[in-house]
Amino acid sequence: MTRELQFETPGFAKRLRGMLGVDFYRLFHTPMFYIFLAIAAFIPALIVGTTGMQNPDGTVTQGLYTNVWNAVAADTPLYTFHDMGGYANMNMVFIFGGIMVSIFIGHDYKSGYVKQLFTTHAKKQDYMLSKTITCAFAMMGMCITYLVGAIAAGLLVGLDFSVNVGSLVIAVLSKMLMSFGWASLYTFLNIIFRRYFGISIASSFFFGTGILIIGIGAILGDTPLINVFLYGSSVYACLGANIVTLVVCLVCSAVWTAVYQLLGTRILSKCDIY
């Protein structure tokens, strides 16, 4: 049996649509995504929920926050580690997000599915971009469940809810925008360590905690120069945020996304898939 052979080259949009379709299908069909959404909701609830709890000796636990929105963002950008309350806010989503991205991409390699993708028309840049968009979407979802978890816990505990709503909205939006930069970084790290799942997770966790940038902050002090880094801009999105914050986060996230996309695509193109 012979057939007429016709080869129609799929354009970038069609290729990306296919790749995004696969990634979102996977995301919504894997329990991992929902577990991470739940974790993102549970963590602020846990932190806020400790407020006012009675200890066995009858004393009452001093909560990390008196205002619920401090669980979402600090009042001012605190690049260095001052106390747990200043550190433990919505930025923690980016740590969980890093672990989720590692598992998500790690499964591509572990199962061998990546071979199926690259045997067909998928290009390396499609892979990078699609993984970044999907994982950024997942992190944005985690930001929302984090917010819901914080509000629910704040209501239960009876914390103060007073806030500048505009600044709060900008801070949350800015952090959600930062998801793209973080997702791009994690995708890049997982491409580098694609053969070593454990190192992928460890590196994502390491960069996600912002330890390096906190270290730089310790040397330079709380300077806006740190906003050039993903962690810096994420911290910059605080409760005192304004439109400049949104622009800074947008630019920082976009620039780092582009940088990691280029680097990741280059590595994938020059190296064997596995």
Partner: protein, 303 residues
């Protein structure tokens, strides 16, 4: 136009060449049996064609286009090493993901079509990890068949299967190769199975293509031999050696006279010398014997 044209393809790992200036030509519509020992470079070549590995040097063209061209790649299906499926997803979900990736319109229809080809309609909803090895191989083929591929690359699809699995797999491969009109490259160690379906062969050794030939050429090159049985095998052998150059003892206690198509002459010579022939028949060596013969010659040449 050829389905695959490879020129001077090389790939090394830590300085050792797995594929060494390999040339390969697979005509459109061929069922190409890719043969070689373990570590000869078959899988590496297939991975290079599939774009899984980056070549050190050389050129790969698929249907006249560069092998990275998305237009041609979208028509390539492969089963390399394993099916490449997510273990916790169902068979249907795995196929669905590949159908989405390929941008297929009637995804459910296409999935049902390929499941029918690999005789797995009833197993669509079970988790991939619950499937047997034979089922996983068939699912891998189903994945490769999605989207009407023009070129299928199957790396050892029969390996590790039991007799039943092998039988089903052979039926599927025959079905695909005969009825779906795509060019197929199959590497396998089970040459007897390959011989039943291949139209072309490529024999690779130490990363180099040492021979490419069609099934017809193979048939014409395959040595004719006469097999016979007699009581005094040693005596008969001594007699035959006086008249024929290549006479060999076989493991089952018979004799083979190679490169001769003269049954009557052999019987006559043996009778004249007092040897009664109980059985005699004409035969041709199969792919497996031809391959072993070729490899032993190449091995001798190398030493």
């Amino acid at each position: 136009m050829n389905a695959i044209e490879i020129r001077n393809l090389s790939k090394s790992f830590r300085g050792l060449y797995a594929v060494d200036h390999l040339n390969m030509t697979v005509p459109v519509g061929a069922i190409y049996g890719f043969i070689g020992e373990n570590g000869s470079g078959k899988s590496t070549t297939e991975k290079l064609i599939c774009g899984h590995l980056v070549p050190d040097a050389g050129e790969i063209r698929l249907f006249g286009r560069d092998y990275t061209d998305a237009g041609v790649r979208v028509r390539v299906g492969a089963l390399i090493e394993n099916a490449g499926c997510f273990p916790n997803s169902s068979v249907r979900d795995n196929l669905m993901m590949q159908a989405i990736n390929l941008g297929l319109e009637d995804r459910d229809g296409e999935i049902n079509r390929v499941l029918a080809i690999v005789r797995m309609e009833d197993a669509a909803n079970i988790k991939f990890k619950s499937c047997s090895l034979g089922m996983k191989q068939r699912i891998g083929i189903a994945m490769a068949l999605l989207g009407d591929p023009a070129l299928l690359i199957l790396d050892e699809p029969i390996n590790g299967l039991d007799t039943d699995g092998m039988c089903i797999m052979r039926e599927i491969l025959v079905d695909i190769t005969k009825n779906y009109g795509c060019t197929v490259v199959i590497s396998s160690h089970i040459l007897g199975e390959l011989e039943k379906i291949a139209t072309h062969y490529g024999i690779i050794r130490q990363g180099k293509m040492i021979m490419e030939l069609s099934a017809e050429e193979m048939d014409s090159r395959a040595q004719v031999f006469i097999s016979l049985k007699t009581k005094d095998v040693r005596g008969a052998m001594a007699v035959l050696k006086q008249h024929y150059t290549d006479v060999r003892l076989t493991e089952d206690g018979g004799l083979r006279v190679y490169d001769v198509d003269d049954t009557e002459g052999i019987v006559k010579v043996l009778l004249e010398n007092g040897h009664v022939v109980s059985e005699i028949w004409r035969n041709k060596i199969g792919l497996e014997e031809y391959y072993i013969e070729l490899m032993s010659k190449k091995g001798a040449d190398a030493t």
